[in-house]
Subunit: 345 residues, 2 copies
């Protein structure tokens, strides 16, 4: 028997939230609400849904039972790469925010792989998750957008964190990456940092593309020429920053400052500069992105762009909560980053 | 109605794996196996369990259904603090190892809090997890050990990763922390690094206690006096390492080397030493613990003790797999750390 026919057979045997919704003549989201949060549906509607569930022998699983009993909710957090400090910090704060309202967090490391994203989205209805937070910096394909829409249609609240997915109908909480990079690179250029290099993922990264746009904006605003050889499109870790700088120096590419797409890349770049006897900021000014904890403990301490994981977690929770209440969440929340001035620029 | 009586009522209404086990006269683990992996129970036994499940109206939830259909398994990984690089790296490798055999990973950040550990252990049977990997460095109380035993009795395979929990009946995969610290500190003392300080969590950390024992062993072996004022018991992050060094220098405590309990603490210590105009390794030799990715990109590059997340993940998988096969796993697997010699010592 093929996997698909197995699944089909299974779905005939085990009534799902969709079956109950069809029988009760309501949306799957309404079924979840009727069996869950007692404040937001009328007693008549709840009874209708309950009758349909009983007639079909529908049983919510342990997660959903917990929800109905007001004991626990489960939200899945999907992150691009748990080894990147940005994602582990976001994880910590989202867990804190949600656990304060009795909600548990299931974390899923996507490893920047869309097949992993598709897999968890397809599983989501069966797991009867109470929400999905999609914290991926990677560009989302239209196939993935379709999968996201399917999960939403199954009544699962979804929030995008980090990139703007409103084009796919997903309420989003992002940073204003473009403005942040424009501000920071503008300052580097003003301080005599031209030519200024950009090191970080651009192609395939929705977030990186925004940051790189800000880098271009700043050159345009300053009337500074921009050399394509100074965009070092690499991913994602320390060694990529180190290797990019080593390569540029080997090739004799001249630069007086570097805007990095992450603090990790900046740290790798700093190591390569130091190894070549170049001093930061005297010879090369260097700015990171994201203000991860490590960056304050580098010497020279790293100038970088702030993150606000606590605020982002709060906005994520709000966007989920609106959906739990059956209300439309704010479509796009954009958080501004500030320049954290330290020793390296 | 109190929460407890609600739970009791719920457990009467919804038959659990334990109810099925009781009726079929087998263990809960056997129920899981009989409804799951088709290779390891006799057809007669499977039929008996299936009959009991049918009689009680027992339905495995989505996770368990997936398992039975051979589609997916879910293992929970509980980590002490996802922001510590050691844990995010372990997470990545455990997910890789398990996804290769069609198993998904649910990650749970304990924030070094035992109440969070208790909570997830209590939920585990209802979630019908296919396994729990307990990756916590914190000392486990007897109350938590009791909760672990309950989850095991409910048929959930458990593996400890990082600390030795064989005293609680849990198969464990650990590093030989004591030998690693003994070797490293022995070398520091031999290189003229006395007096040598230890910075890191000791009290309340099972792993830290082992490392500190190795630090004491090395002093004893070298016949070097050991001063309690040189054990800086702090947790867990960069700033703790920085603050400990700043405090010691302020108080005029003399030291010629530092063994840190983590690379993050070592990086914080390096920042404080640099700020005081002390040169590493000329004035103070410095060794980290764990060889997280960042440590190679510090300047001076950090000497540290190796980690083997890939091997640990493989051993964790083996310990789970033995239990899935109904076999006794190896009680204790101990992985040796090596000294990664770089510039700082």
């Amino acid at each position: 028997m093929s996997d698909q026919s197995k699944r089909k057979k299974l779905s005939r045997l085990v009534p799902t939230v969709r079956d109950v919704a069809k029988r009760a003549g309501v949306s799957p989201a309404t079924v979840s609400r009727a069996l869950g949060d007692k404040a937001v549906v009328s007693p008549e509607l709840r009874q209708r849904v309950q009758d349909a569930a009983n007639a079909l022998g529908y049983r919510p699983n342990a997660f959903a039972r917990g929800l109905r009993e007001g004991r626990s909710r489960i939200v899945a957090l999907l992150v691009g790469d748990i080894e990147q400090s940005h994602f582990s910090s976001l994880t910590k704060h989202v867990q804190k925010e949600l656990s304060a309202v009795g909600t548990d967090l299931l974390l899923h490391d996507l490893e920047h792989r869309e097949d992993r994203l598709m897999h968890i989205l397809r599983q989501a209805p069966a797991l009867q998750l109470n929400g999905i937070v999609l914290a991926s910096s990677d560009t989302i394909s239209s196939a993935a957008a379709t999968e996201i829409a399917a999960a939403r249609n199954a009544g699962i609240p979804i929030v995008a964190a980090g990139q703007d997915l409103t084009w796919a109908g997903v309420p989003s909480v992002t940073y204003n990456e473009r403005a942040a990079a424009r501000h920071s690179v503008g300052q580097l250029l003003a301080l005599g940092g031209a030519p200024c290099a950009y090191v970080g993922r651009v192609q395939g990264s929705a977030v990186g593309t925004e940051r790189h746009r800000g880098y271009c904006d700043a050159h345009e605003a300053a009337g500074a020429p921009r050399d394509a050889a100074l965009t070092w499109d690499v991913a994602y870790r320390y060694s990529a920053g180190r290797d990019a700088v080593n390569r540029a120096l080997r090739e004799g590419i001249a630069f007086r400052s570097i805007q990095a797409g992450s603090d990790e890349l900046a740290m790798g770049a700093l190591a390569a500069l130091t190894d070549h006897g170049l001093r930061v900021p005297r010879d090369v000014r260097l700015v990171g992105f994201g203000n991860v904890e490590m960056s304050a403990h580098l010497r020279p301490a790293l100038t970088t762009l702030s993150s606000h994981a606590e605020e982002m977690a709060r906005c994520i929770h709000q966007a989920l909560d609106s959906q739990w209440q059956g209300q439309a969440p704010q479509e796009l929340v954009m958080i501004e980053r500030g320049l954290v001035q330290r020793q390296s620029s």
